[in-house]
């Protein structure tokens, strides 16, 4: 709501409306003129590279990527969720594509993207069926989409399109981005726009406490990149809404967000029918904030408090209803998330032990670990001692 016009004007700039007025109103992030696109400058490209933090080759750890590929990526390009029945989902494919770009591995990127489109793009729109299970007839388990997976895949395609100057990737990115914006974002409601977790199942028509959102589906670093291929939508406003919700969705004593949040009447509340937990989903929030270059302590405050003392048992899963520890994210790779948060907010160095990922972790913590290292290498090199 608040920045509606200012941010909308970005789009008008992208569309070439160089209003004198608009010139005074370019929002803080993009410095479009400084962009250095891979091939052929134009306005659309410029917006995406605005922050000049391209993902390509930003992982900086070839060994970790080789190990990741050998453990989770098949030669067909399927990214396997090893802790979850060896299934795949749009999220795992999107993460795999992002990491392949970050590792500068075009062959792997092409394999993963080929598999993704050939197996998950079974819907009539450009979104992806979210769940795929091996040795089933048919392998698709659910044709609903998951917007985090959709966003991750589209974002990876934008990065690949620019990094490797490939118009086909950019075209595919645009198709997905357009359908995310048109079919899963509540742009035409009172109040700020909300990103639904999927096209079906979470809206006000579908649930008494709907719309229900998942804040960890707001992939903050992706939004300015999607704006590069689908400039007619107000991604900036969507991101602003998400950041605002990070500040508002704080439940219980611990003031932590739950995984699933009801936005009935515009007030964030833990959604009914889901455990009111801060858990595996929401743990990605600080990762995405840091990847987007957001270092303002306010966004991280309750997380920094939660993680103030390192706990060898693993990151706690918090029941926001009573503040109790409901479980542990036990694999050691998760510890990169608190470290990255402290790095983004206060420049704290990443512990040396976290700079080399373990070779025996499951898909999810291993993925978050590599993404966090990518973020650190891309934006917070002093935390890596560089």
């Amino acid at each position: 709501m608040m920045f509606r016009r200012t941010h909308a004007l970005t789009a008008s700039l992208l569309l070439g409306l160089t209003l004198a007025l608009a010139q005074a109103q370019v929002p803080a992030e993009p410095a479009a003129a400084e962009a250095k696109p891979a091939a052929g400058a134009n306005a659309e490209r410029a917006a995406g590279t605005a922050e000049a933090h391209p993902l390509l080759n930003s992982l900086g750890n070839a060994r970790a990527w080789r190990s990741y590929k050998a453990r989770f990526v098949t030669d067909q390009g399927r990214v396997v969720d090893t802790a979850n029945g060896r299934i795949s989902h749009s999220e795992s494919q999107g993460y795999g594509m992002l990491l392949a770009v970050a590792a500068g591995d075009r062959d792997a990127f092409q394999r993963i993207w080929n598999w993704t489109r050939a197996n998950l793009m079974v819907r009539d729109d450009a979104l992806l069926a979210w769940r795929w299970e091996p040795d089933k007839r048919p392998a698709i388990a659910d044709v609903n989409d998951a917007t985090d997976g959709d966003i991750l895949v589209a974002w990876a395609l934008v990065e690949a399109g620019e990094g490797w100057a490939d118009e086909g990737y950019r075209l595919a990115a645009r198709r997905i981005a357009v359908d995310i914006a048109r079919r899963t974002v509540l742009f035409r409601t009172e109040g700020p726009p909300l990103l639904l977790p999927a096209m079906s199942g979470f809206s006000a028509e579908d649930r008494p406490d709907g719309p229900v959102i998942n804040l960890s589906y707001w992939v903050f670093p992706a939004f300015p990149r999607l704006a590069a291929v689908a400039p007619e939508f107000d991604w900036d406003r969507l991101g602003t809404t998400g950041r605002d919700l990070v500040l508002r969705a704080r439940f219980g004593q611990a003031k932590l967000p739950t995984e699933w949040i009801s936005m009935r009447d515009g007030q964030p509340q833990p959604a009914s029918g889901f455990p009111p937990h801060f858990s595996y989903n929401a743990v990605r929030l600080p990762l995405y904030l840091a990847m987007a270059g957001i270092g303002d302590r306010r966004y991280y405050e309750p997380l920094l408090a939660l993680w103030s003392e390192p706990d060898p048992a693993g990151l706690p899963i918090i029941d926001t209803a009573n503040g109790s520890v409901a479980g542990r994210m036990a694999e050691p790779g998760y510890a990169i998330i608190p470290a990255l948060a402290a790095c983004a907010v206060a420049g704290a160095p990443l512990p040396a032990g976290l700079q080399e990922p373990a070779a025996d972790e499951n898909y999810y913590p291993a993925t978050l670990h590599l993404l966090a290292l990518t973020a650190a290498n891309m934006r917070y090199q002093p935390c890596l001692g560089r």
Binding site: L17, P27, A28, R117
Partner: protein, 649 residues
């Protein structure tokens, strides 16, 4: 395109500068530039626009009078005169403040502190004060110094906040200073208002601007305040401030100098679905006249988009054509093509976006959409071979699933089943949606490639009822021998009578497919669940696999009985009593769906369902972004506003 300036990044003082592209009326030009000390200097010759630049160069600037005021308070007449002369040299339009004689002298022991102050060394000044207080506990700086220090600190804090975007800091600092808004230096007050606006508190921001407009009598500063408000807030929040503007004896609005800026801001707001004041036909006409005179393609294009938004496509077309002739960019080409299409000149639209496809992915997508529509509508009319050729090349180069599928149906309907199968095979590798898989299966059936045909049908058992329906279809005597290509398989897609002489180019299929042997019968047959089709090498080049580079997967035995898929309707064989296994989450009944699910209320797609192309027509059932593309697609209101005649010109 001029380089967009970024006010939030810039660290320098607030400057008013001039953007050369805007002409101004003679009345504005005739006004003397208002000049005030310590503040700003407006060049009204042409449209003033608020800009920030890091350097103190050009335009106007804040004039530092602190030294002058210090000498005056100390009654150091010679130095006062020297400083006045210096300031006049540097700032020719500067005038001597009237209150120099009334300034109270500060105590002599403050002299070194004033030196620190005039040097901007506030931290050292604060240290000096506390050092002094440690030796002389009752000592306080003079009121003048304390206030100046406070403001100086505020100013540097404001600059830092603007630079870092730390808006909450500046708000907190001003609050802590306990200065009422009207006592703040005006540039600090502007920064405060902007801070409120940037952090989402438009009410507070408006209140600050309103206070300034109420208290401030200087016309230049009043105008600048409105411009500041326009830069920081949506025009809807600026409208009440505009209404504060006074009218002179002739009834002329005091803010008329920026009326075209206001009109433009209102148009942009309307295009984005926001609220805005009424756009007067006279203002729109003036804007059009100015745009034509200056020939700036971006400004002309704004008029084009505004006309397009109001569905005045003829006028939109004229504006975009003009913008193109003045060097318009890829976005102008988009508007041009969309307007052409709305005017029924699809062929011309196609050529425009084809020519501009490389400079914007929007135009590339629009080109493919236009061709897709053209091919699906081309029943009975030939599409020239060179148009087909250039489209096929683009489809191959960009791995467009939509394009491959469109070429597949076009070839199929032209009875070129070989080409159809090739294009559909690509489409199924790129995006195996039901319509592509159906086309592929039908083409394979026509070509009597029964093993491939059965493999495809079995792979999508449980997922695509129409595809599975091919092997369960009742023979329909009506459909026999009636199509243009001879006997058709059951349940064929609506076939347009395409002329057989159109040669559809074939893609070069790079993928090698090793179909599984058919185990028994037609259906069910055990097939691998993974889709083996690939669109070719995709530009990455084939790479030899190193041992252990990728995860080796052990596949289980393919299954014969399908399970339910969440979100999919009943399978055709269920009517014969065959059952499916439960879905992954235990559901054992078909999803209650008669077609693809619709997007939720509140999405852009849902708000346009009235114009959705219905499934079952020969046109693509799903949205293509190009079908509904608008440059300002988040626009909420006004799409169907009644046309107001004569408003554009």
């Amino acid at each position: 395109m001029p380089r967009p300036l970024n006010p939030l990044r810039a660290a320098g003082p607030v400057l008013l500068a001039v953007v050369g592209s805007l002409g101004w009326s003679a009345s504005a030009a005739a006004q003397p530039a208002p000049v005030r000390t310590g503040v700003l200097q407006l060049d009204e010759r042409r449209g003033a626009v608020i800009l920030d630049t890091p350097q103190m160069s050009g335009g106007a600037e804040i004039i530092d009078e602190s030294a002058l005021r210090f000498y005056a308070a100390q009654r150091q007449g010679e130095r006062v005169q020297a400083e006045i002369a210096r300031l006049r040299r540097r700032h020719p339009n500067w005038t001597v403040p009237a209150d120099l004689d009334t300034l109270k002298p500060s105590p002599p022991e403050e002299a070194p502190m004033w030196d620190l102050f005039t040097a901007g060394r506030f931290e050292e000044l604060r240290t000096a004060i506390s050092v002094r207080q440690s030796t002389d506990p009752g000592w306080q700086p003079s009121e003048d110094l304390a206030r100046k220090l406070n403001r100086g600190t505020l100013r540097s804090a404001a600059r830092a906040a603007v630079r870092d975007g730390a808006w909450s800091d500046i708000i907190a600092r001003v609050k802590a200073s306990q200065e009422p808004v009207q006592n703040l230096d005006i540039d600090i007050a502007w920064t405060l208002a902007e801070a409120y606006a940037r952090s989402g508190d438009l009410t507070q921001a408006s209140a600050v601007y309103r206070t300034l407009l109420t208290e401030q009598t200087d016309s230049g500063l009043r105008l600048a305040t409105v411009q500041k408000a326009m830069a920081a807030m949506p025009i809807a929040s600026v409208e009440p401030l505009l209404a504060i503007g006074s009218r002179d004896a002739d009834g002329a609005d005091e803010f008329r100098a920026i009326r075209l800026d206001v009109t433009r801001a209102r148009m942009v707001a309307v295009l984005h679905g926001g609220q805005a004041g009424r756009i007067e036909p006279a203002e729109l006409a003036a804007l059009g006249e100015q745009a034509r005179r200056l020939g700036n393609p971006a400004q002309i294009a704004l008029l084009g988009w505004y006309a397009y938004h109001r569905r005045q496509f003829r006028e939109a077309l004229d504006w975009f054509k003009l913008a193109q002739s003045r060097g318009g960019d890829a976005a102008v080409a988009t508007g041009f093509a969309l307007s052409l299409r709305e005017m029924g000149q699809t062929r011309e639209a196609e050529d425009v976006v084809f020519a501009w496809r490389a400079s914007s992915v929007t135009n590339l997508a629009l080109y493919i959409d236009i061709m897709e529509r053209t091919l699906s509508e081309s029943s009975g009319t030939a599409v020239e071979p060179e148009r087909l050729d250039r489209f096929a090349k683009v489809v191959l180069a960009t791995s467009s699933a939509e394009g491959a599928q469109a070429l597949g149906w076009y070839a199929y309907n032209a009875c070129q089943f070989d080409a159809a199968a090739d294009w559909f095979q690509r489409a199924v590798g790129l995006k195996p949606r039901e319509s592509a898989v159906l086309g592929y299966a039908l083409s394979l059936s026509r070509l009597k490639r029964s093993r491939d045909y059965l493999e495809v049908i079995n792979r999508y058992d449980g997922l695509f009822p129409k595809v599975v329906g091919l092997v369960f279809a009742e023979p329909d005597p009506q459909s026999r021998d009636t199509g243009p290509c001879g006997p058709a398989p059951a349940a064929a897609q609506p076939v347009a009578a395409a002329p057989a002489w159109v040669k559809v180019p074939k893609p070069t299929t790079a993928a090698s497919i090793r179909p599984l042997p058919v185990l028994r019968g037609e259906f069910p047959v055990a097939v691998a669940a993974e889709n083996p089709l690939r669109p070719g090498d995709g530009g990455a080049g084939p790479t030899r696999l190193r041992d252990g580079e990728y995860l080796r997967e052990v596949r289980g035995a393919p299954l014969l009985i399908a399970r339910r898929v969440v979100g999919v309707g009943p399978m055709p064989y269920e009517r014969y009593g065959f059952a499916l296994l439960p879905s992954w989450n235990g559901m054992d009944r078909a999803s209650f769906l008669t077609g693809p699910p619709t997007p939720p209320v509140g999405t852009l797609a849902q708000s346009e369902t009235g114009t959705l192309i219905q499934a079952g027509s020969s046109r693509p059932a799903q949205y293509r972004d190009g079908e509904r593309f608008g440059p300002f697609d988040t626009a909420g209101a006004g799409r169907n506003e009644p046309r107001i005649a004569g408003q554009d010109r």
